[in-house]
Symmetry: C2
């Protein structure tokens, strides 16, 4: 499908576009009552709807046809990263990560974190916007910030990787990851994970990896590592 | 090597840091005479130098040791792209592209270009900065904007790809590109290349490719396509 996509998470229970979506529909795009609009619930479906009420705060739609999105990615991809001090860099990563395809972003609080808190709602808006812009039907989850020590203890079914720059044994991500595997990648702050954090992660089953040949900024490392997994999944 | 890197393109002829580099060295980093600084010429070498004159406009260095950078990439990678209207997106791409590794950026003027001119000096500063930040010794080239029709007629030794969204026969970039091949990739504006532009490119030996499964913004497409080639080159 092509064109503009709206987001309405609970369209089946309440076919009313959220306020921002309604404003955009009526005031920016000037959609008329009776015209068709395409909406996603962010949970895998596209809904082809008629706009029945063109209200700038409360557009009401009537679903004419529902379609499941093309088959979702078979592997789960999650990134936990220490946000950088400059918010635009974090926003850039969430936008591009969503465009390329990801299931969950978790901001981490690490020993050498530049940024010790982050406005999750702002990140969620970026992600919704990127999902719509890239015409996808699955909304990546954005969690609140989690302390590193707590995060590494969470269970995860799949490969768990920690990218770091210390002179310790590491595999190349591109060599070790196999097509189809679920993956969780940890990306540290500009000052890297501490050696203690790397040990804690290794104790919890994380595999230290190298993700590229050049020295990358945090947000670049995050995008490069997840895109590497996409490429491996697309090679036949 | 680690730490701060300075850029001085003609250090062998003239071991004087450019004005911006000098300012940064003296006023920001407060480097003292007698201290060592590392400098690249952007042509493949690192120079370990002593700062002999700490002048905020004209630092003079004395080369104590010269080292070639680690072996340069064996394949040439060039991207010609239609810059987006918002300059920060173009700047993001040049920064991240330089971090990951690229030889040449060429801004293109296309039928549906949003941006019909671009300040090349500004882009060159971004690229110098990203080269230094990622501790690399090869400076990517940034050309002035070239009209599409003229660009596709230029000779190039290697694979030539054009990424577009039309419903025409295309290969998957990740399937068709082979490790070690030189590559030149064309990325169109948000409104895509025109069908006529695609035909012109195909006549000149460009291969139409698909670069991903999701709909990507121009600058994301540019980064994803070049990173795909890096991943293929790093798989054993």
């Amino acid at each position: 499908m092509d064109g503009i996509l709206f987001y309405c998470p609970n369209i089946l229970e309440s076919p009313v576009l959220p306020e921002e979506e309604s404003y955009h529909c009526v005031k920016v795009l000037r959609t008329q009552e009776g015209e068709m609009v395409t909406v996603t619930d962010g949970k895998g479906s596209f809904y082809y709807c008629e706009l029945v009420q063109a209200h700038p705060k409360q557009c009401i739609v009537a679903i004419r046809h529902q379609a499941e999105a093309a088959t979702h990615r078979s592997f789960s991809l999650q990134i936990a990263f220490a946000p950088t001090k400059q918010m635009d860099r974090n926003e850039w990563f969430l936008e591009k990560g969503t465009e390329i395809g990801i299931d969950r972003f978790t901001p981490l609080l690490c020993r050498y974190s530049e940024r010790k808190e982050i406005k999750v709602e702002r990140l969620r808006k970026i992600v919704i916007s990127a999902m719509k812009q890239s015409i996808q039907a699955y909304l990546p989850e954005v969690e609140a910030m989690v302390p590193f020590k707590e995060f590494v203890k969470r269970p995860f079914q799949g490969r768990k990787f920690i990218a770091h720059c210390h002179d310790l044994p590491k595999e190349e991500l591109v060599q070790t990851y196999r097509k189809g595997e679920n993956a969780l990648i940890l990306i540290g702050p500009e000052g890297d994970f501490s050696e203690e954090e790397v040990e804690q992660a290794v104790e919890q089953g994380f595999e230290p990896v190298n993700i590229g040949e050049t020295r990358l900024r945090s947000e670049t490392a995050a995008l490069v590592s997840m895109h590497t997994l996409h490429v491996i999944n697309n090679i036949q």
